[in-house]
């Protein structure tokens, strides 16, 4: 694995600077910016397996959804309210239910941490089993798991069942979108630095070896099983944080349409790395930015046909640009420098 070039550090710092400044230039687009942070997070976390390890999961939405419910429940619980009562079908008399600003912020952060830890464990358990299947069997198996999870969440009355669940209202004095944005940005930064480091370790080397040829890697005595499972667990923890942030931003959880929504976020999270370039560090980030731009553009100008446009975009990307933006850039730069273009971009 090549050493991180100074160019990349400069790019990272520039990105960070733009990201910190963005809320002050675009105060009216805060919720889209929160979504963008969430998208970057899930795109990076999906790419850990899909890009770096060659395991294309359609089921990471599982962690996203569980994380969302966990954060919402933690907030209700720490706010001093009973969950089943809060979610009752006829409404839980919440007029008198208020939380103070410190408790709101604390419960949000504790909820996110709890979601990360619990989903890490779930990732270990589910991963140790499902990662026994390979290739498209893994894709299909995780797909089934993701869809089923939403259906089962809809049967749980204490979580509001199919009626969904509202996050608690932020008290006065809490600028929720700004809070979520900077929390998201912080987690993205941590994750990015972590991934940069990880790819230079033996762990990262084994991940890539699994992608290139798992049988050979195993024959070489590399701990493929352990690496796969832990990689998925780490991805799960970050996907759960993304879910918690997304849910808090949207305020309302519906089991199949928001939390475990495979046809939307569930597919977007793999589309974004693909757009930007799978298996690279910057690809998922660029992909998420591009995707968010395209999506908002379609929803604004192609009213009534926005999903047709999105569908066409997906088809065009996978058919004509499967290597994404980074793949295209790499091809161009290698042509310019006359190299064979086989170097790693991460």
């Amino acid at each position: 694995m090549a050493k991180t070039s100074p160019m990349q550090w400069i790019a990272a710092l520039a990105f960070l600077a733009v990201a910190i400044a963005a809320p002050f230039f675009m105060p009216n687009n805060m919720s889209q910016l929160v979504d963008l942070m969430v998208f970057i997070l899930i795109a990076l976390s999906w790419d850990m397996l899909g890009g770096q390890m060659g395991y294309n999961s359609f089921g990471n939405i599982l962690f996203f959804g569980i994380g969302m419910y966990l954060v919402a429940s933690t907030q209700v619980w720490m706010g001093g309210y009973e969950l089943a009562e809060y979610n009752s079908a006829k409404g839980g008399n919440l007029e008198s239910f208020t939380v103070t600003a410190p408790i709101f912020v604390q419960s949000l952060i504790i909820g996110l941490l709890a979601a990360a830890i619990l989903n890490f464990v779930i990732g270990l358990i589910v991963g140790s089993q499902l990662l026994q299947t390979r290739g498209h069997y893994f894709a299909v198996g995780t797909l089934g798991l993701g869809v089923a999870a939403g259906e089962f969440a809809g049967t749980m009355d204490f979580l509001g069942g199919g009626s969904g669940m509202n996050f608690i209202q932020p008290p006065d004095g809490v600028n929720l979108t700004q809070l979520l944005y900077f929390l998201g940005l912080g987690v993205v930064a941590i994750f990015f630095v972590f991934l940069t480091w990880l790819h230079r370790t033996r762990f990262g080397f084994v991940m890539n070896a699994i992608r290139d040829n798992e049988d050979k890697a195993e024959a070489m005595g590399l701990p493929t099983g352990r690496v796969k499972t832990f990689a998925w667990a780490i991805a799960a923890a970050f996907a759960a944080i993304a879910g918690g942030l997304y849910g808090a931003g949207k305020n309302f959880i519906d089991p199949t349409e928001v939390a475990f929504s495979l046809p939307t976020v569930g597919v977007w999270m793999l589309l974004m790395p693909l757009m930007g370039g799978k298996g690279t560090l910057w690809g998922p980030i660029l992909g998420a930015v591009m995707f968010q731009l395209f999506k908002e553009f379609f929803w604004t100008y192609l009213f009534g046909w926005q999903r047709v446009a999105l569908g066409l975009l997906i088809v065009i990307i996978v058919v004509f640009f499967p290597n994404g933006l980074m793949g295209g850039l790499k091809a161009i730069s290698s042509r310019l420098s006359g190299k064979s273009g086989k170097g790693e971009a991460a």
Partner: protein, 314 residues
């Protein structure tokens, strides 16, 4: 928990005859799923493409059938509707087959040699396009065709077989048998099977594999068209209802094992019954979840069996 026990009690002691109804209706539903899943298995097995848009193809066929039957009811109001329903099936089949060919030329042809992940995404994109386009063109209203068929009741009305479902199942089975025969005995079928077994060898033997792929995808379209016209008079048409059929076909093909065409029929019939029982015992809200969870469980069981032989499921 209490209601689950009550439901089991109902099945075992209070009214055991309703078991027959659950099984019969499950089999009838399963017959329609079998048809759709058969098409999916064919494309999956021959072309290594998972067609996520399968359900949208089905719904498209349903709309073709719906508009045809309605138009005919205007033109010839005194003819029995059932006649036009049957006539509409080949029309829907032809229409969706043609549409499939277009999709093949535009998209599928270009992703044939890519991995399955790409085909999943590409056909998902096609599904999105079809859903909203159908929503714009056919409006969002729920559409049904009323076949005006009687219900056959047995055992003092405890077991009922709706005529429309029976007709749907019979037509579905006829279509399935026809297609199985086509694949097994015709020249075209031989070419399909040869291509599925080894595309390179088939090409060397002078088979135009690209044409075989095109025809297979069109055949799947025809199957979806027929299934769609059955869905139109047995269930409800809605532009966004396709996912129900896609995911079920998916579960059926996995359950049967890819490449196991005969298994698809049994898996589909079994799934229909299983679904009715899980809906009855656990409650209808569990029905979908219980179907989808089959996919990872089947794969895990098979991976576990293979692991004992030191092999991997891939």
């Amino acid at each position: 928990m209490d209601n689950i026990l009550t439901n089991i009690e109902l099945l075992t002691t209070l009214a055991p005859t309703i078991n027959l109804e659950l099984i019969a209706n499950g089999l009838l539903v399963g017959a329609i799923f079998a048809l759709i899943a058969y098409g999916m298995a064919l494309v999956w097995g021959v072309m290594d493409i998972i067609n996520v848009a399968q359900g949208a193809f089905v719904i498209l066929g349903g709309y073709v059938s719906f508009y045809f039957v309605n138009a005919m009811a205007q033109v010839a109001p005194n003819t029995p509707g059932i006649l036009w329903i049957v006539v509409s099936m080949p029309i829907a089949a032809a229409a969706v087959a043609l549409f499939s060919l277009i999709v093949f030329k535009l998209v599928i042809e270009r992703i044939l040699d890519r991995d399955l992940f790409i085909s999943l995404l590409a056909t998902f994109g096609i599904e999105l396009v079809m859903q909203q386009a159908m929503n714009q063109i056919f409006t969002a209203e729920e559409r049904v065709i009323d076949a005006h068929l009687p219900t056959f009741a047995f055992l003092d009305y405890m077991v009922n077989i709706p005529g429309s479902r029976l007709l749907g199942a019979v037509l579905g089975i006829v279509a399935a048998v026809g297609i199985v025969a086509l694949v097994r005995y015709s020249r075209f079928g031989r070419a399909i099977r040869a291509t599925a077994q080894n595309p390179r060898a088939a090409r060397i033997m002078g088979i135009d594999t690209n044409r075989v792929y095109a025809m297979t995808f069109a055949l799947n379209g025809a199957i979806c068209g027929i299934a769609g016209s059955i869905v139109a008079f047995v269930y409800v048409l809605h532009p966004f209802q396709g996912l129900v059929y896609t995911l079920r076909s998916f579960a059926i093909v996995i359950l049967a094992g890819i490449g196991n065409i005969a298994g698809v029929i049994f898996a589909a019939l079994g799934l229909g019954v299983y679904e009715n029982y899980s809906g009855f015992v656990l409650g209808p809200e569990f029905q979908d979840g219980m179907v989808f969870i089959i996919v990872p469980i089947t794969l895990l069981v098979r991976a576990w069996i293979m692991r004992r032989k030191r092999q991997y499921l891939k």
